[in-house]
Assembly symmetry: C2
Homo-oligomer: 414 residues x 2
């Protein structure tokens, strides 16, 4: 767990508020699910790694065998349960945001924490969900990140149907998982390694060349569409055509909002998780590519197949704020002046006799929207001003004279 001192905590909290405000401004409604849920529900669709990392919860007088409860490890699983449980009371499309802590017992390493904040938005449809919502979540997350990430950011989007369709066309449908895995890993290794990996899977030179050219396609719609259409016309197949058409609709709407060059198509993006079935999104800071994706997501065909026969397609995106905050801090990429937590004033009564008037002054300043402390401790006014300068932007000394006249001077600390 990342435990912060008050000055950093204030910044962290302000970023959480910024993100929530942008999410709310875009019409996403907050919900909160329990941190503790039934293990059976949490692990319904989870694989081996998740099962190993999950924290089980027991009471003192129980044994491990009673551990039918666990801590949630993401927001998606509890969301599925929530939507099914409250389906009749929700409006669809359900635009929902969840901001809170999740838990994974990962091996401790730099920038990875066992308790971490995730800031998710999802849109859940009933039966069908228009593609415009894919654009909606991307634009919303972009705007949220822009409020506090100082350098340029770049959202890269693709559609798993395009690569999936291409693999079918190349006769590689039975090697989909392996190829998705290789491409997902490709940016972390030299290009030779990737080409070797293809060859090890038994791909021939022509297939490898096609994949190499395909994954290099990126840019605005104008730039990528002609290239994708050539592949579509050469390779054929419905899935590939559908993927391209979806990408065109989504990126088209995003570009129409003036985000050309900030949100681009990029065929290198596949996202490892196999529950994505259409759009996939990643976000990078181009000046610091080594950081990796700071905000990811995608479209899934069915949120809650485990619980209900009702088709609930969705699209979502998530900012992992604990890790992002850690990294931005390390790189000095947060505007601490803007998001810092210094109080506006600290009022300093010289003796105890001035405490009532000092408190009254503080209340007046608070009524005007200021954050104000009164320092009641300290041996003398020097002590008090030292404290004041450490917590506030300005100090106000209240002595006998100030209390009598009601007039006082504001001393700016910088």
């Amino acid at each position: 767990m990342q435990e912060l001192l008050p000055n950093k905590q204030a910044i962290f909290n302000n970023l959480l508020i910024q993100i929530a405000n942008v999410y709310h401004a875009h019409g996403f409604l907050s919900i909160e699910t329990p941190l503790i849920d039934r293990t059976e529900i949490l692990l319904a669709k989870a694989g081996g790694d998740t099962e190993k990392q999950i924290y089980r919860v027991i009471k003192t007088n129980e044994t491990a065998d009673d551990a039918d409860q666990a801590l949630r490890f993401d927001h998606t699983v509890p969301l599925a349960r929530y939507v099914v449980e409250h389906e009749n009371d929700l409006k669809f499309p359900f635009k929902v945001t969840q901001i809170g802590r999740n838990f994974r017992g990962e091996r401790a390493q730099k920038g990875r924490f066992r308790e971490f904040y995730q800031c998710d938005i999802d849109v859940i449809g009933r039966g069908k969900l228009p593609l415009s919502y894919d654009a909606d979540v991307v634009m919303t997350a972009y705007e949220a990140l822009k409020t506090f990430v100082k350098p340029e950011i770049l959202v890269r989007i693709s559609n798993r149907k395009i690569l999936g369709g291409l693999l079918v066309g190349l006769g590689l449908a039975d090697k989909s998982d392996e190829v998705f895995g290789i491409i997902d890993h490709a940016e972390k290794v030299p290009i030779e390694k990737t080409l070797e990996a293809y060859a090890e899977e038994g791909l021939d030179d022509s297939q490898i060349e096609t994949l190499k050219e395909f994954t290099e396609i990126h840019g605005s719609l104008d730039e990528v569409l002609p290239k994708l259409e050539i592949i579509r016309d050469k390779v054929g197949g419905e899935l590939l055509a559908e993927g391209i058409s979806e990408l065109k609709a989504i990126l088209g709407l995003i570009e129409a909002q003036g985000l050309n060059g900030k949100v681009i198509a990029d065929m290198m993006i596949v996202r490892g998780l196999d529950y994505y079935t259409g759009s996939v999104f990643e976000t990078v800071i181009p000046e610091h590519k080594e950081i990796g994706s700071i905000c990811s997501g995608g479209r899934y065909d069915n949120l809650a197949s485990y619980y209900t026969e009702q088709q609930l397609p969705g699209v979502g995106i998530s900012i992992g704020l604990t890790r992002l905050f850690y990294i931005l801090n390390e790189y000095g990429l947060i505007d601490e002046e803007k998001f810092g937590g210094l109080l506006d004033y600290c009022v300093c009564p010289i003796t105890d006799a001035e405490i009532p008037f000092a408190t009254e002054v503080a209340q007046k300043l608070r009524a005007e929207g200021n954050r104000v402390d009164v320092i009641y401790a300290g041996k003398n006014i020097g002590d008090k001003l030292k404290y004041a300068a450490s917590v506030a932007k300005a100090g106000i000394v209240i002595g006998e004279n100030e209390a009598a006249t009601g007039k006082y001077v504001v001393k700016e600390f910088k």
Copy 2:
């Protein structure tokens, strides 16, 4: 766990924000501690009930014997660890707020939840802490509650040194725990039960009469001081005199801020917890006394005697928002209009051709500070307006004409 639908969740979240804003306005700094901490730390000073209610945390491949971690059950224990761990980086007096979930495996009952939000403020001194901070936390909590509790509220304060000193004077020092317990329980039972309970503990008629008269003392300083001073002069003892003098200083400062009648002295208040050593506070809604205390706290001599030899006196107060929200809701005592979560606008494009302009309109309204959704789903404009009316205060229809001219009409839904 209390799981809310989005409209109630919006209100709940707004109340959390209101409370945090008032706390921050009064100079309290936010910190967050891990939800999972070492069991040894969490249970260092805890008694039997807490130990039974605590949730232990284990990983999948561990057994219950490995459960050396647990979920925090309050904010005070992690705060003690935090202050000792970061002592050199903190300013004292450390004015701190913690808002978040705690966990207790209580028997499920109405209004009691196993995951619950507590909104705490504490002031921690190093060596000494002036009494004015007792007034500070009371006034801050009062102001926070007043932002959203519609009926009148009443803060009742006392000082455990007064009753403690009185018991010494009456020769009942060895029965302190029992008498504190009886008085703590007194308002939940008829007066006869209380008098019987005293008698069962072996108190004589004169002692019982003195305690009965004592616990009936309540009101403003002007009202209570003469009565307390008569007792002091009759019974004597340093502790009693000190308690009265502390009460006078604290309530004096509060009354000087115009809170006469809203914050009163009340000798019935003792607070069950034995770690309070001076002031004790409870808050009630006089129109609904049956609710009990909605916000309580007090002064403790030493926050962290378990970890450090350094004396760290503190004073704190806590709003248990999950339970309070549940009750206020049941009684209909929250201004839902003021704190509700309806969006400002929902923009409705008639056909997909109007989606880009509808999105542009939404972005403009967001830039002016509004919360705005665009409805992309729905078979026809009737469907879309129905959705709009369920999520927003006003709707905006965008058809061919609006997209061409850039002009549109705002339709208020009520």
